[in-house]
Amino acid sequence: TSQVQRGLQKVTEAQVEQKTAEVVQYFLVKEQRKVPVRRADLVKHVLKEHRNIYPEILKRAARTLDQVFGLKLVEIDPKNHLYVLINNLETSEGAPPINSSTDPKRGLLFVILSVIFMKGGVVRENVIWNLLKKLRVDPGEKHEDFGDVKKVVTDEFVRQRYLEFVRIPHTEPVEHELRWGQRAEKEVSKSKILDVMGQLHDRDPQSWSQQYREAHSSQNSTQQPGSSSQR
């Protein structure tokens, strides 16, 4: 930090503010495709000559994202330093008067994440492909909403870190299994999924005891109401 302090003495406040604004823009732009921001890329493409005051600028950018946009900057992968934005605001109870367009891929993702969660955290890929077939989504065919479904699931959702798609060792032919990705762990609420499951099956969510425990024990269940207004 003393290095940061020294670095800060060499730049004007206006320069720090401008870099902060660029970092905020960068996070917003990267969120268009929900691809996590790699710290190395942020330094290389945005901070450039100001890399030495990186911690201060990131701190300010996080504050702006929080206070102006209601978004939380979250490091989902501390080893590789990957960041994503998560919404601080809950989905409002009453329907908003503006019907903004929904992304059908969000529906697909919900189905896959739900199955993985309800099946205890990991499923073989065939479980997903078979289930999708029953929903008229054939991984071998071009789908009207999703195009190449296999690519969306195993490439796009994986790059966005919603899913992990890992080869199961010693399988012939090659088989993969699916788990929740690091973004999903932060962005998707297991207890809300369980609530929806309960509503769909007309059943008390608590009756899935294992899932219920998981949903309410993991750090994923951010059930502090009004946490976003504590500023």
Binding site: T102, K105, G107, L109, F110, D145, S189, H201, R203
Partner: protein, 91 residues
């Protein structure tokens, strides 16, 4: 499948994917063909027609589970500002 799912309660394995898909299809607004006999003959493959916005309906139902950040889209600033080439039309 529904009864089977309720029998197996309070066990981690009690999740029934078949029941889940049935519920999803009804969220999607499936329009079953009247002739249910045919379905049985097709090896249980459920037939029916899904509306165009089927997956949008699922997405809307799922919205509350996601704390996704909205994203910012713009046109100005996405390309180099450049005046147009001089007009070639004869005025």
């Amino acid at each position: 499948g529904k009864e089977k799912a309720t029998q197996l309660f309070s066990d981690g394995a009690a999740f029934d994917p078949t029941a889940f898909t049935e519920h999803l299809l009804s969220i999607m607004g499936i329009n079953r063909l009247e002739d249910a006999e045919d379905e049985q003959q097709n090896g249980g493959a459920v037939d029916g027609y899904l509306p165009q916005d089927a997956w949008h309906r699922v997405a809307r139902r799922a919205e509350c589970c996601f704390k996704a950040a909205p994203s910012f889209h713009y046109m100005f600033g996405s390309f180099h500002a450049e005046p147009p080439p001089p007009k070639q039309r004869i005025e």
